[in-house]
Symmetry: C2
Subunit: 448 residues, 2 copies
């Protein structure tokens, strides 16, 4: 459908049929207009963007990637930029300003009206990744002494500017939050009823300084599409809507995915990440793990004689340390995700560790059987025995490391997601090498 639309708009541009272009694009959903803008030639882009009604153009702008916004901004006049910024919702404006390069942000802040500047600075005043950064001040508040009819009249007046009117907020004269009520409740009530009479004073709220992940958890837990945000005095300062929260949930999951592979979180999307950023975000852990591996190298050096006497031992080295690392990554990933989803509490550690010991013993035993077949065929019964015994032990040790490390990290106030597969692999290596060659030294010297 989009491909056809693009062709259609391209035809219209060729025909210079401005009226038809304007009509076609203003009837498209905003996310599709945003895509279209960066699917046409550069010359046509500004033309299309300028054909959009003012309100629509700011909504489309908010949907673009940071790179794209930056490109568009360089083409707009100062007056157009000023207008565009004034039409953006405060949370979008703050986010855009936060992500654009510093010099551009400074230029744009100068173009804001005093009121917009105040709002924007307020939102940017909250810590990055806090609830305050997600909120918008556009909601409808009503008073408990009003009637339902008065409240609905107020909605009619204020509702156009509000981000949502699905929930109305009841506040006292100091703007302290008293209740959050579904619009439905007002619609279904008698217009003469007092707002106070339909209140239940049961509401869920967020604090502006909380971590944004708290917004995800709260929305998930209470199945609410919009949450009020209060300051430390319980004064209502904004609302957070489900669309921002869904984006946060996805962004947080992406961050954890990347950490799980020892990549530091990227700023934007992977597609647009530049080479130096990708290098910087990946090299840190890779280098750290090189130095961690010095220990497994040193451990091996201690067993030089055993290895020289039984070179066949080396055939199984990658298999054994990989298996230990693999079982460990499985355990760590299960644990990290369960901790992130609040499925598991810190107090569960002992129960889960015990469970893991049983599971990994079963896994280790199965894998020992499998590898002993290969071992006998390739290197004879003595080495097969050492390999099988090592396999069972290293799978258990790797799994225990994988289960315990996320708990330990969390206990030390680090992000448990730092228990990445590469880190677990390196830790399992050291123990794997020690177990393998110690067993070999012990058992093979007796046999030969």
């Amino acid at each position: 459908m989009l491909a056809e639309q693009i062709d259609h708009v391209r035809d219209l541009i060729e025909q210079k049929n401005w009226t038809a272009i304007r009509e076609t694009i203003t009837n498209m959903p905003e996310p599709e207009i945003a895509e279209l803008l960066f699917d046409v030639e550069t010359n046509d882009r500004m033309l299309l963007f300028r054909l959009l009604p003012r309100d629509l153009s700011s909504e489309v702008f908010a949907l673009l990637e940071t790179d794209q916004q930056n490109k568009l901004l360089t083409e707009l006049t100062q007056e157009e930029t000023r207008h565009l910024l004034s039409k953006l919702s405060p949370d979008d404006r703050a986010q855009i300003l936060d992500e654009l390069p510093g010099a551009v942000t400074q230029r744009l802040l100068n173009l804001l009206s005093p009121e917009d500047l105040r709002e924007t600075r307020q939102i940017l005043g909250y810590p990055p990744e806090s609830v305050g950064r997600l909120m918008t001040p556009y909601y409808v508040a009503v008073r408990p002494e009003w009637t339902v009819g008065q409240a609905l009249d107020h909605v009619r007046k204020k509702g156009r500017d509000s981000e949502t009117i699905d929930v109305l907020y009841v506040v006292d004269q100091h703007w302290k939050l008293l209740d959050a009520l579904d619009l439905r409740r007002f619609i279904l009530a008698d217009p003469q009823t007092k707002v106070a009479d339909i209140m239940d004073s049961q509401y869920i709220y967020l604090n502006a300084n909380q971590d944004r992940e708290e917004a995800v958890r709260t929305m998930e837990r209470y199945d609410l599409s919009v949450l009020p945000v209060v300051d430390s005095q319980n004064v209502l300062i904004g609302i957070v809507t489900f669309d921002d929260v869904l984006d946060v949930a996805q962004a947080e999951a992406t961050e954890d995915f990347h950490k799980g592979a020892a990549v530091s979180p990227l700023k934007g999307s992977y597609r647009d990440a530049r080479l130096p950023e990708l290098y910087r975000k990946r090299i840190g852990w890779l280098l750290a793990l090189v130095f961690a591996n010095v220990f497994s190298g040193a451990a091996i050096a201690n067993f030089e004689d055993t290895i020289a006497a039984n070179v066949a031992l080396v055939f199984f080295l990658p298999l054994l340390i990989d298996s230990s690392g693999n079982a460990g990554s499985q355990a760590a990933t299960l644990m990290v995700r369960a901790l992130a989803m609040d499925e598991v509490k810190m107090s569960d550690w002992w129960r889960l560790l015990t469970k893991e010991i049983f599971v990994s013993a079963a896994l280790g035993f199965t894998m020992a059987l499998a590898v002993s077949l290969i071992g006998v065929l390739r290197a004879g019964i003595e080495i097969a025995l050492v390999v099988a015994l090592t396999m069972a032990l290293v799978v258990i040790v790797g799994s225990v490391i994988g289960t315990a490390l996320p708990f330990i990290l969390k206990r030390l106030n680090f992000d448990p997601a730092a228990a990445s597969a590469p880190l677990i692999t390196s830790l399992s290596d050291i123990s794997g090498v020690l177990i393998y060659f110690s067993l070999a030294t012990l058992l093979l010297s007796q046999v030969q």
Copy 2:
């Protein structure tokens, strides 16, 4: 706060103060009642549950874990169960029936009214993980020929049973979907206006047979909190709300996390997973990787003489194959998540692979420098040279495998998330071993 409440309720139970208990718990948010139920003694649980008003008890029931639901069901009388089921929303009912053990499901289906049975069977008729499984038939539909005032009257009549009234659906006499309009639009319009006059015929919808991930993508893209679901005839058959979609987004991310560590997706939560399930979900890939490693073992066997002559080579083996695997997992994870988030298209593969070659060359060069220091100290300049050269090459090869594999899997219609860290590690091992010992054979035999 919850801990205090639990103590408070416990005290009340001790005092057998039923009225106060009932008042306290019915004023708590449902998710907190659900938690409370399984925080008190078993004997008190049924007592508390029976004190809840009927409507509330079904809402609380829907929030429990499958295990907990099963436990409660065994304690309820047939009549209570019948009532509970009839009060559940159709999507919740279908989900519960789908997850409970088969025998329990059959018993429960027999307790449903013919109408509920029809609704439930319809939802269970859609494929698992399809949009149809998420939808509820409780929405408000209006007709284009009605006035806005008539539509709002209809909302007042029907709204109580609807899952949401934030969006009203305009349908024709055959119940075909014509439009989806925010309730706000009705509130703000003149009651005498015809619904047809406030329609814009711009609406986003889902098909019941689409994958549920499509619901996440659509909601994310268009920032909508509720989406209409149609059948192949464009007949409106239900709606999907943001709370179910947020759950799906989290569940899909969890699945991808687990796949990324070569764990097959679990059925329930990790916390409640039983030992045999954990064993089964983990052993498959672990064993497969043992057999994949036969190849790296075989590769090493070919270089027995080189190793015997230079046992110091073995010191660096874990480091080199780990580094290759680590760089590969980083690349694969970045790619898998970008594909899952639709950030990257199949057509990007060549551009991203080229980018990866540059990034990994820079990573490889840095790591070669680092390892050459260690190499010289531990094993002399010749071996250090082989190790450094190998490091640069294996990091590049691992990264290329990590970048290419998700694309290849997706092209072959497999889930790209199957390009797990353990799989990448095993593939990198084989190439790493071959590169390392080939270089060693070539360079060291010339030096010595």
